[in-house]
């Protein structure tokens, strides 16, 4: 067996560290078990033949791998003890230095000889190399020669524990683990993918090792790292928005060789992006509306935008009608447009596809019926300058419209004046209760979608925009542009129903975002209180009527007391014979028993009549005298 001479030292430091340190046992839930499971899933192609394990260490995967897949195991490492152990266990070994691409390739070709190569593994080794991309390129060439698999494992420095620590200025290497002090290159999912793509390796399957608390979860009494704290829950929730690898300890991927998919194995410099991506949904049924909207875009005072026309479930004639509208446009505008056909899903899927394809720093959504003012983009541009990264919100009016058709053409006829249904400044509290913004007035920062994965929910047919706005506003905030920037033309279409159920779902989803800070029950209670408040606002204010009624009652009581006081007085009783005579003469004073049925005005009239009666007037002198005697006053 021909091995490369030990001419370079790339791997030596790792080996020195490895001596006696990396004899990890095989377990179903560690990286060895995950690697074997991956190969087993594809055993149809991997079974039999030769398996080369590069950076094998003590190779505790060897026995299970041979037993399960029937492969011939060949270990490559620099550590003599490790190779000695494997040799004693009956496995073929080779001392291999991971140097330049060409040397590694030639060494592996020589090792394989005339045998059929089924698979290569390189487990937790790449991170120790100065130039792991060179090794990957060599592996890709060898794997390509044999149509063999390449199994790769690297530690994931994007595990949430490292992020939580770094947030508070903590960064420590350890003897072993994710930040092993001998690591030369730090990997995340993105770094690994980029390096693989630049090496000609393509991921076909993955079986990452998940560890909730990694070896970096220290100091254990740090509030950010203690799983029961609000801070920990909040930070974990935020980390979860980034990608799905927050709990991944090791990235374990199965690859095949193919064309090199990118030139550089590292991130490119910042891309020069347009300010705004305008995502337009179209079913190709109303090309005249699309043409009108394009005219609005052609009239923008700021032209730093791109346009993505999303054709949804189009048949050929409707596709052609959209293409015709685009073809008709002036060249400067036509070159800003991408026409993307999407033949699945509902309109939210459509938007998610559009947002994924958008290159702009901000992304907004327009429908064919929308009309935007000439300073629409200019206003967004100014607002973006004052508070980068926030959602931008302008004021949107609505107007009823209908379609007319004559003189060989169709057009839109406005049927009402413009309405202003939303407040001109964004009110987060109001948005907890109702959809208070319109999509044509919103520009979402691309990071919300591309980095925090705030997407349109396909389960929401009506309020998907509100849902994104609410969750997004909670994370990045909203900058309001008070100007009117757009008009939504409304057709008389029947409602699709289901608004109440969707409203509830929007609030539930917001509750999930806010849960780390506000318990879900608190969000629910807040929502219920807002609903009650809205109901109460619809009840007319009855306080003025109650006050008037109260005054009326007081007046009635006073009139009743006055009349009752007269009828109960000694003067009135003393003059009863006089009234008896009058009754005989046919005059009938009011029945005392009936005064409870009289109205206030009738009581007052009765009081006036009684006071003017002869029987009452003739007792005025005695009453005065009695009053004078009792009170001492005239």
């Amino acid at each position: 067996m021909a091995c490369m001479p030990d001419t370079v030292t790339h791997f030596s430091s790792a080996l020195r560290h490895r001596q006696g340190a990396y004899d990890n046992p095989f377990a179903a839930d560690n990286v060895y078990g995950h690697a074997l499971a991956l190969l087993s899933r594809h055993r149809g192609q991997a079974e039999g033949g030769l398996h080369i394990d590069i950076g094998s260490g003590f190779g505790r995967i060897a026995e299970p791998l041979v037993a399960e897949l029937g492969l011939t195991y060949l270990a490559c490492d620099l550590d003599e003890d490790a190779l000695g152990s494997l040799a004693e266990r009956g496995f073929e070994t080779c001392r291999l230095v991971l140097a330049s691409e060409e040397r590694v390739y030639q060494a592996l070709v020589a090792l394989i000889g005339g045998r059929r190569l089924a698979s290569i593994s390189i487990i937790d080794t790449l991170e120790h190399l100065d130039d792991p991309a060179a090794t990957l390129r060599a592996l890709a060439r060898v794997a390509g020669d044999h149509q063999a698999f390449v199994l790769i494992s690297v530690p994931n420095v994007a595990h949430r524990d490292l992020g939580l620590r770094l947030l508070f200025g903590l960064w420590e290497y350890t003897e072993t683990g994710i930040l092993d002090h001998t690591h030369r290159v730090l990997f995340s999912d993105a770094v690994l993918r980029r390096m693989l793509a630049a090496s000609g390796l393509h991921i076909v399957d993955e079986n990452d090792v998940q560890i909730r608390r990694s070896d970096q979860a220290f100091p254990v009494d740090h509030p950010a790292l203690q799983s029961g704290t609000t801070l920990h829950r909040l930070l974990c929730e935020l980390r979860g928005l980034g990608d799905r690898f927050g709990g991944t300890n090791q990235l374990v991927r199965l690859c095949t060789a193919g064309p090199v998919a990118r030139a550089l194995p590292f991130a490119a410099a910042a891309i020069d992006r347009p300010l705004l991506s305008v995502v337009i949904r179209s079913e190709g049924r109303q090309p005249d509306l699309l043409a009108a909207l394009m005219t609005c875009l052609a009239a923008q005072t700021n032209t730093d935008f791109e346009v993505l026309v999303l054709g949804h479930l189009l048949d050929r004639p409707r596709q052609v009608s959209i293409e015709q509208v685009i073809f008709d446009l002036p060249a400067w505008l036509r070159t800003k447009i991408r026409f993307i056909l999407i033949d699945h899903g509902n309109w939210t899927d459509l938007l998610n596809n559009g947002f994924a394809a958008a290159d702009g720093r901000y992304i907004c959504v327009l429908d064919e019926e929308d009309v935007v003012f000439g300073h629409w983009l200019e206003q967004f541009s100014q607002a973006a300058g004052t508070a980068p990264g926030r959602i931008l919100r302008g004021n949107v009016l609505t107007q009823s419209s209908r379609r007319v058709e004559y003189n060989f053409a169709t057009g839109i006829r406005a049927e009402s004046g413009v309405n202003n249904p939303h407040s001109s400044a964004f009110d987060f509290f109001e948005h907890l209760h109702a959809e208070g913004s319109a999509l044509p007035g919103l520009a979402f920062p691309r990071g919300l979608f591309h980095h925090l994965r705030i997407c349109f929910d396909p389960a929401l047919e009506i309020f998907a925009g509100w849902d994104v706005l609410l969750r997004g506003a909670a994370l990045v905030g909203v900058t309001s542009v008070p100007e009117v920037v757009a008009i939504q033309q409304k057709w008389n279409r029947p409602g699709s129903g289901g608004e109440a159920a969707e409203r509830r779902k929007v609030m539930e989803k917001f509750g999930a975002v806010a849960a780390p800070l506000w318990p879900a029950a608190c969000i629910g209670q807040l929502r219920d209180r807002l609903d009650e408040l809205a109901c109460l606002r619809q009840v007319p204010d009855t306080r003025p009527q109650l006050a008037a009624l109260s005054a009326e009652l007081a007046a009635h009581r006073e009139a009743l007391q006055n009349v009752a006081g007269i009828y109960g007085s000694r003067s009135w009783r003393m003059t009863a014979p006089l009234r008896f005579v009058q009754r005989l003469a046919g005059k009938r004073p009011a029945n005392q028993a009936a005064i409870g049925l009289l109205s206030t005005s009738q009581l007052r009239a009765l009081q006036a009549a009684v006071c003017a009666s002869r029987s009452w007037r003739i007792t005025a002198g005695p009453r005065w005298l009695w009053h004078w005697l009792c009170t001492g006053a005239p």
Partner: protein, 313 residues
């Protein structure tokens, strides 16, 4: 042409390969807005010519500004945008002719089948010329108006035919012979506003129809207040107030003139009072136009507007 229209029998003005002079009057317009307009107009001209409906399209600017809006370099830049399809000429007036007289001057020298009277900052949709020309395939069409964005004018039109009381000349196509036949815009009476209302009524008095074409879309950069209301400048208010008096006088509505004068006197602000004073001064020196349409068959004065409006703005 007589008061009741002597162009009968009514003809269809369209012919394939029609020539069009697009004319705009500049007044302090910035180059960026002019360039935007030319970029859109040139494409509309290309499509109209490709379709065979138009044969030649020429753009002429008259400049009423104190200083020229376009330098030679900028003019060359504009000419280079569509050298094959859209030729551009520029006439610096050296004085402010206003809208009516400016357009009359530009039309005087025109040699085309149609003139497209347009504001210099409008951005037209690609098929605007085609849609407007189509209106003239129908006999009796005397003027075709484009639909404005972002705010559609609220005046009513027949949703089956497009027939309307008057057309705004923010963007309207007019057969040149008819333009001359009705005497062009009344520049003696109207400086900036209502010249288009007056002209439209003159076209209708000649027996032709004014047609609104909703498929012919153009963008006229208007803004609204934060509450969604119009934001007219003082100059706009003044000329609109003055024109309201003059239009009512010219179209034989003395009772409306009196009513407006009373209102301006009683409730008006400085702007409307100045308009009232100007009207009275004209009257005193005999500079008011001769009234016409004595039987009120053409002119419409409805709630202070010159057509029934579908809604208020």
């Amino acid at each position: 042409m007589s008061e009741t229209g002597a162009c009968s029998p009514l003809r269809a003005f369209f012919r394939p390969g029609a020539s069009i002079q697009v004319q705009s009057v500049l007044y302090g317009n910035g180059f960026a807005s002019i360039e935007r307009a030319v970029l859109s107009l040139g494409r509309a001209a290309e499509l109209a010519v490709e379709s065979g409906m138009a044969g030649r399209v020429e753009l002429i600017y008259g400049d009423s500004s104190r200083n020229p809006c376009l330098s030679e370099c900028q003019l060359a830049q504009l000419c280079a945008l569509y050298p094959e399809t859209l030729s551009i000429r520029y006439d610096f007036f050296g004085r402010n002719y206003g809208s009516a007289r400016g357009h009359n001057r530009l039309a005087e020298a025109a040699a085309a089948d149609f003139i497209l009277v347009a504001n210099p900052d409008v951005v037209v949709s690609p098929r605007l010329l085609i849609h407007l020309l189509r209106a003239f395939t129908l006999p009796g069409t005397g003027m075709a108006e484009a639909k404005q964005l972002p705010i559609e004018h609220p005046k009513d039109y027949d949703p089956q035919t497009g027939e309307t009381s008057w057309a705004t000349t923010a963007c309207a196509l007019i057969p040149l012979p008819l333009f001359h036949a009705v005497g062009g815009f009344d520049a003696e009476t109207f400086f900036l506003y209502c010249d288009d209302v007056d002209f439209s009524w003159a076209v209708r008095m000649a027996g032709y129809k004014v047609i609104f074409q909703p498929g012919a879309v153009m963008f006229h950069d208007k803004r609204l207040s934060d509450e969604g209301k119009w934001l007219p400048s003082d100059a706009e208010k003044y000329y609109a107030a003055e024109a309201a008096l003059l239009l009512a006088h010219k179209w034989s509505r003395p009772e409306i003139v009196e009513k407006i004068l009373r209102e301006y006197g009683a409730y008006g602000d400085l702007v409307t009072r100045r308009a009232k004073a100007e009207y009275e001064a004209r009257k005193a020196v005999g500079r008011l136009p001769a009234p016409r349409d004595a039987e009120h068959k053409i002119g419409q004065f409805i709630d202070g507007m010159y057509a029934r409006h579908r809604y208020a703005l």
